[in-house]
Symmetry: C2
């Protein structure tokens, strides 16, 4: 749970019913893909959603949704940018030149994430999804301490190496008393588009073993699909035809 | 070049001729794989190498090399752990329980990286390779300001999304006057292990286009090979049969 000493003010123009963070500890396993799939799956069921891109130094969300800055700034705060599917998005890449590196010390990066909560007029949202950066440094610490997070969805991939780092992320959430709502394995399986035979690109799926004994449900196993990368690169992540039904069920119970 | 105001002391028991950082901006593109391939390729030519794992919150190197902590600590400093191929390695995962998350603020993380330089007795090394964390935050900033880095090798992957974030990393290096020695594209191509036909998993290779006009050479295009993931998971990254000849040539000219 957020620490009352650190918890920060919600913008008066925000009415966000639930906040869920997507994290993994390790980069490149598909946090941003899972973030967009969660938003799309929730929207298909009629919920309003927003995405807070907390990956300040490596933001992916604007490109995946085909949106560009600048955002509209008023005296009362900034408006999130609406993607063409209706998702409200706030990301540092909507505020600076897109290829400009953000060479900032941790406290400044953490401060930016706080501003994405206090200074953004999120409006009326059923779910705000926070796309976390890799690792367990300043930003996850700030998000966990400062925002009223309902829970975390952890993203993993079949590599043994990844499961070690994901274990760290899960321990961090536990230490900070944030519920882990479920695990989603990305890159779980692949079929050759030519001969249809299965290919084990990063190793065999092992998310069931990782989850066993933890009481944490496995909410999805996502395929490696070159079509996903193509849609992401086209800025049409919301057109990926894959619904995270189990994850939606868990989020509906919050 | 390192800022004389920030540059830190070398351990008197270290005699490191060249330091090269491997960075990407984006996580999961294969920085640690490239780090290990560089070390292996240099060792095949008779050079001595060490790896400084600067990915404090998501360290991969010890697991890839099948080594575990603790490291030997003396009054003069710590010894890097020797992997079975002879590479000297220092990583936070050799100093703490391997599944323990490091929930630290940026300055503490940056301080740890500095200690990996000042307090580690690297011995006599031709090349020290620094495996950077994703992003352009505290650690890259500290490494660039504090360590006498000769240059950077940038790792990318075919996704358009990745090239945006890699551009940020390259701009950061330029701003900090660190030479970019070359680009290596990971996940460049794949053949189905059953039918042998090519599969474009993350999109078509585009590193030549990314490099064009920058004057920065493309040093390698690495395949997606399930065998690599298997060797990495077995802690035998140094047994991957792939030599980075072009990269070695560039490093020999330093």
């Amino acid at each position: 749970m957020p620490n009352p000493m650190f918890e920060i003010e919600t913008n008066p123009h925000s009415n966000v019913r639930h906040i869920v963070a997507v994290m993994s500890g390790k980069g490149g396993v598909g946090k941003s893909l899972v973030t967009s799939l969660l938003s799309t799956s929730l929207r298909k069921k009629g919920y309003s959603t927003g995405i807070l891109d907390a990956d300040i130094t490596g933001p992916s969300i604007p490109k995946m949704y085909g949106i560009h800055g600048p955002v509209e700034v008023t005296e009362d705060g900034s408006y999130p940018k609406k993607a063409s599917d209706g998702t409200g998005i706030m990301s540092l890449n909507l505020m600076i030149a897109e290829d400009q590196p953000v060479i900032w010390r941790g406290p400044v990066i953490g401060g930016t994430v706080k501003q994405f909560w206090t200074d953004v007029m999120w409006g009326d949202l059923d779910y705000l999804i926070v796309d976390m950066p890799p690792g367990t440094g300043d930003v996850p610490l700030t998000v966990f301490q400062s925002l009223p997070i309902d829970g975390v969805i952890v993203v993993t991939s079949p590599q043994d190496l990844v499961s070690v780092i994901v274990a760290k992320a899960m321990k961090m959430a536990k230490l900070m008393k944030i519920p882990v709502l479920g695990i989603i394995e990305n890159y779980s399986f692949m079929s050759c588009p030519h001969c249809g035979k299965p290919i084990s690109v990063f190793g065999e799926s092992r998310v069931d073993a990782t989850a066993e004994g933890t009481g944490i449900p496995v909410l999805a196993k996502l395929p490696i699909d070159p079509g996903f990368a193509a849609l992401v690169d086209e800025g049409r992540a919301f057109d990926i035809d894959l619904t995270l039904d189990e994850a939606v069920k868990v989020l509906e119970k919050l």
